[in-house]
């Protein structure tokens, strides 16, 4: 456990070092830049904002982590997020319930939207054996254009000069306390549920088993096909939930590019976390620190905030490569020690 954390921290530090070299080459002061980055996102009044911003990252990260750990290569989080956001928005435009019912209602709609879209990919795999890896990618592009059409024609806000829907009913807005958005509570609930399923339930055990060795688990009596469908629907629902919360917590309407890059960031988070649920939470918050801080960094030090996108990808590559490298190194050391014990 300790070793696992150490590898991650060393990897992140190495990536930061590389980033520092890039900054030095361009004539920026790396120490000051990193200081401003963290000072901005971790300042007392700001940290709750950073936490609120981590919600879509962590939820899509959980979606990818559960999928990768269980076998299905669901890369459809971007599309599932958009479909979840769209369905929640439509619900918020046409239904008006008291807040206590409205918020769960819209969240369920969001999850349905995401599960619907991942369900299409699951169905194509189940009946026609089409690899979800390619189909989810294609469905991402289709969802992108479809939602863009939806906010341009049927749900377009009249007289607006930007592709967007009208505001959803106020009862569906997530309550806000200062900088802290209540969507954080939903995210933590989702995390607890996912952690429990993956680490403490039979279903989660079977999923992880299938992820490690599908044939073995089938021979052991696991219904691999059924689990595949359930995992796809669950991970779609998680990504959809992220989309619904983005709408309900943020602009309260579906505007163009609302999905930003959350879902691909989520995929990166799952990869760097090695599909570990707890590490997904930690790295999700860490990526949110980087992204929130990048705004302050640009304001004060003039380093463009796009640098953080590069840094994120570098962190993923280095941490994952480092993990493999260290693991083989430790294995070698272990073997050498055992050899000595035998010879002595």
């Amino acid at each position: 456990m300790k070793r696992k954390f150490l590898v991650n921290i060393v990897g992140v530090l190495l990536a930061f070092l590389l980033g520092a070299v890039v900054m030095l080459v361009q004539g920026y002061n790396p120490l000051d830049t990193y200081y401003q980055l963290f000072a901005y996102s971790l300042a007392p009044g700001k940290i709750t904002y950073t936490l609120s911003k981590s919600v879509p990252l962590i939820l899509t990260g959980l979606s990818a982590s559960v999928a990768f750990a269980s076998g299905p290569v669901n890369l459809g989080q971007p599309g599932q997020l958009l479909m979840g956001a769209l369905l929640a928005t439509i619900g918020g435009l046409y239904v008006n319930l008291p807040p206590l019912l409205m918020v769960p209602f819209l969240l369920i709609l969001a999850m349905l939207g995401g599960a619907l879209w991942s369900g299409v990919a699951a169905m194509l795999k189940y009946w026609f054996n089409m690899s979800e890896f390619i189909t989810t990618l294609m469905l991402n592009m289709i969802a992108d254009f479809f939602t863009y059409w939806a906010i341009n024609y049927p749900f377009f806000e009249k007289n607006s000069n930007f592709p967007q829907t009208p505001l959803i009913a106020q009862s569906g807005w997530m309550p806000v306390w200062g900088n802290l958005n209540s969507s954080v509570i939903v995210m933590i609930l989702a995390f607890v549920v996912v952690w429990f399923i993956m680490n403490r339930s039979t279903a989660g055990y079977e999923w992880r088993l299938s992820g490690q060795n599908s044939l073995f688990s089938r021979l052991g009596g696991v219904n691999v096909n059924k689990n595949y469908i359930v995992v796809m629907l669950l991970t779609g629902a998680l990504a959809g939930l992220a989309g619904g919360l983005v709408v309900m917590a943020g602009p309260h309407r579906f505007i163009k590019d609302i999905g930003a890059n959350y879902a691909w960031d989520g995929v990166m988070i799952a990869m760097v976390a090695n599909s570990d649920i707890l590490l997904t939470l930690i790295f999700g918050f860490f990526f949110s620190i980087l992204q929130t801080g990048s705004v302050g960094m640009e304001l004060i030090t003039a380093v463009p905030k796009e640098l953080i996108e590069v840094l994120q990808a570098v962190i993923v590559l280095i941490v994952v490569a480092g993990r493999g490298y260290f693991e083989s190194l430790f294995a070698k050391l272990e073997a050498r020690r055992k050899m000595k014990e035998i010879t002595v």
Binding site: Q26, V73, L75, L124, F128, N129, M130, S131, I134, T135, L137, M138, L139, M141, I142, F145, F146, Y148, W149, N152, Y153, W264, V267, M268, M271, P304, E306, L307, E309, V310, Q312, A313, V314, V316, L317, V320, A321, G324, Y325
Partner: protein, 297 residues
């Protein structure tokens, strides 16, 4: 008649980048590498191609830069996937996102713009008129007047087919994919072959990128590869890398793309833009139904 000619020309021009990237992907496919980084290599090529053409006011330099840019991406892939033995899938996803981030960052840092950069200083790759043939009515309109890269692509298809099936390198390439241990024990480093195939893939993706930013249009915009790398990957999987098959599939995708543009008169543009991606799904569907039938029979 004009519509047909327009459709055919549209088909050829949108098939070109997909075909180039798919040929690159095919080389790595034969070498047994699960290479999904064509998207990132193409994007890197498109950016550096624009950069070279802008600073040197010359399209050959642009093409050279595009190839070098894509090779740079391929080198990163080699470093992580071959040298450090990292999972190819994770490397590919990481590299694609790295490429998207890095080109956006450089666009901001070097050209001080967000979104897209275009300038009259960027010299596009010229179109070629074939003497004699261009004067023949219909056929001349179809065969002549395409971008230089389009004609180059035809050569590349033939060269790739020759390289893979008729040369010693091609034999080793396929051996690296079939059974790398066997290749290693016969005295040829499988890793060296894999590295060579990735570098060649970089060259071809660089050409595809140059076509995007210096041929198709004369500008660079963020994420301008727009999923073409993924479509080319789907094409590679569909025909197991066969160059002739890739040509057909790419032309089919190109046709649906052109058809989408033509349908814009009757359908909202968002739906017509979906057409190539839906076509990919349909192609995968037909493929899987066919394989199923074969298995039963």
């Amino acid at each position: 008649m004009n519509i047909v000619i327009g459709l055919i020309n549209g088909m050829i021009s949108s098939a070109t980048p997909i075909l180039l990237a798919a040929l690159g992907g095919a080389l790595t496919f034969y070498a047994g590498i699960f290479n999904i980084a064509m998207e990132g290599m193409m994007l890197g090529g498109a950016f550096f191609g624009m950069l070279g053409s802008y600073y040197f006011h010359s399209w050959p330099v642009g093409i050279l830069f595009a190839i070098l840019g894509a090779i740079l991406m391929a080198l990163i892939f080699i470093l992580f996937a071959v040298v450090l033995k990292m999972d190819e899938f994770i490397t590919g996803i990481g590299l694609n996102l790295f490429s998207a981030g890095a080109t956006t960052y450089m666009l901001r840092q070097i050209f001080k713009v967000k979104g897209a950069f275009s300038s009259p200083e960027i010299v596009p790759i010229p179109n070629l008129d074939i003497p004699l043939i261009k004067n023949i009515p219909v056929i001349g309109d179809i065969l002549s007047g395409h971008n230089l890269i389009v004609y180059l692509t035809i050569v590349v298809v033939l060269l790739t087919a020759y390289l893979v099936f008729k040369t010693r390198f091609g034999l080793r390439l396929r051996a690296a994919g079939y059974n790398r241990t066997c290749l290693d024990t016969s005295g040829v480093s499988a890793n060296r072959i894999r590295i060579a195939s990735l570098l060649l893939c970089g060259v071809l993706c660089g050409l595809a990128g140059a076509y995007l930013s210096l041929g198709y249009v004369t500008l660079f915009s963020e994420g301008m590869s727009a999923g073409r790398g993924w479509i080319s990957l789907a094409a590679v999987i569909l025909v197991s890398g066969n160059p002739a098959g890739l040509t057909l599939i790419s032309l089919l995708f190109g046709f649906t793309d052109g058809l989408g543009l033509y349908l814009q008169k009757t359908l909202p543009s968002q739906f017509t833009s979906m057409v190539p991606y839906v076509a990919t799904l349909v192609a995968l569907f037909v493929y899987s139904v066919r394989t199923k039938k074969k298995q039963i029979a």
